[in-house]
Symmetry: C2
Subunit: 205 residues, 2 copies
């Protein structure tokens, strides 16, 4: 933050990396500054030197992770792709993101639940997916007889649910299905196809 030479960038980076790991795993309340310091290979005082307080450090991590978590539903849905292409693109991309950041959903959604208003204002502001546009789009396709009638709200909620939930329920799912980490990820990889098929089979006429 103050030193600027090449090798020294790494201290702040190391802190951020360590903080990300500890916070995503334990949440704000469960995380310990000591653990973050240990993982970063430095000591507690230095954390405060760089970020003043636990809350401030947490905020940096949180908004960064929240950005990753928010699906690009808006952009994808507004593009001029075919509906079925949109669904395929969204599901595949989003599941890929989550496979690389498996703890993201439970981390973000837990924190939102603990402190909804503040948190949501911070990360969403007034962003909203273009439900009306998608609704028109769906209505048109339904009229043409290409798909069954469905509300954008419901369709998008279903898409998101099918992508995100397995990661939130991951430990339980692995336990019940007796899968190790590798097998779970393989299942998620398969799911990219399965979920798309599940959705399109449902809405297609």
């Amino acid at each position: 933050m103050i030193k600027e030479r090449k090798e020294d960038i790494t201290t702040e980076q190391k802190i951020l990396q360590a903080a990300k790991e500890v916070f995503t795993e334990k949440g704000l309340d469960g995380a310990r500054m000591q653990d973050i310091a240990d993982k970063a290979g430095i000591n507690k005082a230095l954390l405060h030197y760089y970020f003043r307080s636990k809350e401030k450090l947490f905020d940096v991590i949180f908004v960064e992770e929240a950005r990753k978590f928010m699906p690009k539903l808006v952009e994808i849905m507004k593009s001029d792709m075919d509906l079925f292409e949109k669904i395929e693109k969204f599901v595949a991309e989003y599941i890929s993101t989550l496979m690389q950041n498996p703890l993201l959903p439970i981390f973000i959604l837990s924190e939102i639940n603990r402190n909804p208003k503040e948190t949501l204002k911070k990360i969403l502001g007034n962003q909203r997916p273009p439900l009306e546009i998608v609704d028109e789009h769906l209505a048109k396709l339904a009229k043409k007889g290409v798909i069954k009638p469905i509300k954008a709200e419901q369709l998008m909620l279903n898409m998101v649910s099918l992508c995100i939930f397995p990661f939130i329920g991951r430990p339980m799912i692995q336990w019940i299905m007796k899968k190790n980490d590798k097998e779970f990820l393989a299942m998620m990889e398969e799911r990219k196809v399965n979920v798309v098929k599940f959705i399109t089979d449902s809405i297609r006429k």
Copy 2:
């Protein structure tokens, strides 16, 4: 716990009720004994008198809530109902349960994520849904041409995802869709039908 006369049952009850509210809202780490005491209208010392420690009190709440959370997938799936009836029954019953306990999923799944092994052993043991039976069942129906081929694993994961996720993402969903609590619950009520339709439309041939 010690006194047995009628009016006095309420102290322990009051504690349990207060503890349930605070723990489900804040989680183990975020909950404060002081808040529980305040909400129960007693003082901290009395909490310890009744439950010895925060952890012990938490455990009581947790196993009680976990039982509610675990869907009766096993029983329903093993019954001799028609597949589509099973799906309908499961979805409607489960969404009803969650509407009455909206914080249940995020509470249980957060705690599982913080401490997977211990927690899962405690609440699940060796319980597992009869995936093989359902798989056979699904294979038979697929052969008859009633449904498209699908793995039990995927079907059940999809069912559970579609029911649970909206409650986990509730604050975010309400924010994005500009719905108040009443409107959200109305949407979940509608969803009982919508989700069943979504699933059956997908697998039916």
